[in-house]
């Protein structure tokens, strides 16, 4: 499949955005209890901390929303008729693309609800924040799930119609979201206690999410090598008569199908690109430690860039490596 820039950017950016919102949601669910278990109750520092953490979460909410919206705009840019995009919300009964649209907008309800409430002074230890956090985490996970299902439900693209696609999308969204969260927590100019906001996100991302995502990706690539695909004899049903070869194409020039679905560059280079993507995704969070010695706090943004680049290459491959069944008719 042709790796269309706008679609790749859409999945990477909106993945990072909803991933970041997911991390904020989880933080709202876990930070209050972490604080009360780590900070002695008689210390009045806890109230200052709660306010400081609220500021970092407000920044993260705004950044997550911006990323998600930027991603959605990229996807609209891919449409033949962008002004009619609103119609895409109507067919949620059958279409994953439509469901994704609905979920992406619904997620903005807790996002902006929380943002406004927190700006007006909502205590992050209140029940309202807990409820909002739960809604935010669920809805952003559902949105990314729907994005992945758009692809994984397409049977003619064998590489997408795989059970690894959904977990990898979810993990990588969480991964890029966590990279953003860490960078934002470090660079927000308030003092927030690292052991409740920044450290757990950094730690779990580097030692759990990234290796898990890359591990699943390796399994995915292995399963691809074994997946049965239709070739020209199967597609035409002529295989039972003998061995089939295409001796004349239906058209002398490229057409929409061969242009969009006959992309072969990636399959030629897939080994190297797979290594590049896996290494970037695995090493980006860890590289923060040496990089901070050289670049100081800016290193965390470098890490975001490296991680996003890794996911971008992974997503590029996800499209470019995938073979569409129709190309079998062309004898390819």
């Amino acid at each position: 499949m042709r790796p269309t820039f706008s679609i790749i950017l859409f999945t990477v950016l909106s993945g990072a955005g909803y991933g970041l919102l997911f991390v904020v949601g989880l933080s709202l669910l876990s930070v209050p209890s972490l604080m009360s278990s780590l900070i002695p109750p008689w210390s009045n520092a806890i109230d200052t901390f709660a306010i400081d953490i609220r500021v970092t979460l407000e920044v993260a909410l705004a950044a997550g929303a911006l990323l998600a919206i930027a991603g959605l705009f990229c996807s609209v840019g891919h449409l033949g008729k962008p002004l009619r995009a609103w119609r895409a919300f109507s067919q949620w009964r059958s279409s994953w693309l439509s469901r994704e649209g609905v979920a992406s907008v619904l997620t903005f309800v807790p996002t902006f609800g929380l943002l406004i409430a927190m700006l007006c002074g909502l205590d992050i230890r209140s029940n309202g924040a807990l409820l909002g956090g739960a809604a935010l985490a669920c809805l952003s996970a559902i949105t990314v799930y729907c994005t992945a299902r758009i692809y994984s439900s397409l049977k003619p693209v064998r590489a997408w119609n795989s059970r690894y696609v959904v977990p990898v999308y979810l993990l990588l969204a969480c991964y890029t979201g966590a990279l953003w969260a860490v960078a934002l927590y470090v660079s927000t100019p308030v003092f927030s206690p690292v052991f409740v906001s920044f450290l757990p996100v950094f730690f779990w991302n580097a030692i759990l999410i990234a290796p898990l995502a890359v591990g699943l990706k390796l399994l995915y690539w292995r399963s691809l090598a074994k997946a049965a695909q239709p070739y020209v004899g199967d597609a035409t049903g002529l295989a039972r008569l003998g061995s089939v070869r295409s001796f004349e194409q239906p058209h002398t020039e490229e057409n929409y199908l061969t242009h969009e679905m006959g992309f072969v560059l990636a399959r030629k280079h897939s080994r190297r690109l797979r290594v590049i993507a896996s290494a970037l995704i695995l090493l980006a969070p860890l590289s923060a430690i040496p990089l901070t010695f050289v670049f100081g706090d800016a290193a965390w943004w470098l890490v975001v860039l490296l991680g996003l680049l890794g996911v971008f290459v992974e997503r590029w491959l996800f499209f470019a490596e995938a073979r569409h069944a129709v190309i079998a008719f062309y004898g390819r």
Binding site: L79, L97, V232, V244, R245, S246, N255, G331
Partner: protein, 253 residues
């Protein structure tokens, strides 16, 4: 609505006889001509008289060579293969559509695109394994075979002309049109008689259109074995845009 209608008794479709198709492309040309001016048109081309013309056609004719081992040694059989929308019974091209532009008609099973609703997201083209949908670069919307719904019910036409343009144009009568839901229809009988088959049934889309396989050869010797060998894919670097050509070179080192 992009949810599928309940199964209807009437299933209009085409049957294509691979035994007698001579690969003349008359059906494809007649289709392009009718649909450029029909209710669903136009079908404009990009760069029509230039070096790289391209545009939407609802029907594409492939040509294959089938190598067979027979009692008299190796033989190559030529099969011309028109490919268009199969008006599937359970097609994902309809259910993936986010706007309701793609739909399957309840009354006769024809799969259509509503030009006024389509946003050109192209998901339906990805969902079709048969390559029946092409987007129009000029119109920004998805185009596909309409089974000439603007001819077959058109009372201003002579009854003899109330059939798809491709069927009317075929000089060898390799194309047949009719109701494949009715077991007593001539077209259904033809399918039963000649062991007509559906393309890639493994996808579960249940194509309505059927293909009639080439008849056994008159010399009585048929293929002994069947083996399909996939060919490796080649990359034509010159077809790539500059950045990708550079990337290909860098990665090939």
């Amino acid at each position: 609505m992009t949810t599928l209608p309940p199964p209807a008794p009437k299933k209009l479709g085409l049957v294509i006889d691979l035994d007698i198709c001579v690969g003349c492309h008359a059906c494809a040309v007649a289709c392009k001509e009718w649909n450029d001016g029909g209710d669903f048109g136009p079908l404009p081309d990009t760069d029509p008289y230039g070096a790289h013309p391209s545009g939407v056609w609802f029907n594409r004719v492939h040509s294959y060579a089938v190598e067979q081992d027979t009692a008299h040694g190796k033989r190559e059989m030529t099969v011309h293969f028109p490919r268009s929308c199969l008006h599937c019974e359970t097609p994902a091209c309809v259910t993936v559509c986010p706007t309701g532009a793609s739909y399957k008609r309840a009354e006769d099973g024809i799969v259509l695109v509503d030009e006024d609703k389509c946003i050109g997201c192209q998901l339906c083209a990805w969902a079709c394994p048969y390559g029946a949908r092409e987007i129009s670069a000029q119109r920004g919307t998805m185009q596909k075979c309409t089974l000439c719904v603007d001819r077959i019910y058109n009372e201003t036409l002579d009854p003899a002309d109330r059939q798809p343009a491709c069927v009317a144009a075929c000089p060898t009568r390799a194309r047949h049109f009719g109701d494949l839901g009715d077991a007593a229809s001539p077209i259904s009988k033809l399918v039963a008689e000649r062991d007509g088959y559906a393309l890639m049934p493994e996808f579960g889309y249940r194509p309505v259109n059927k293909y009639l396989p080439p008849r056994p050869r008159r010399d009585g010797c048929d293929a002994k074995t069947s083996s399909a060998t996939p060919r490796g894919e080649a990359l034509d670097r010159d077809q790539l845009p500059g950045v990708l050509r550079w990337l290909d070179r860098a990665l090939s080192r």
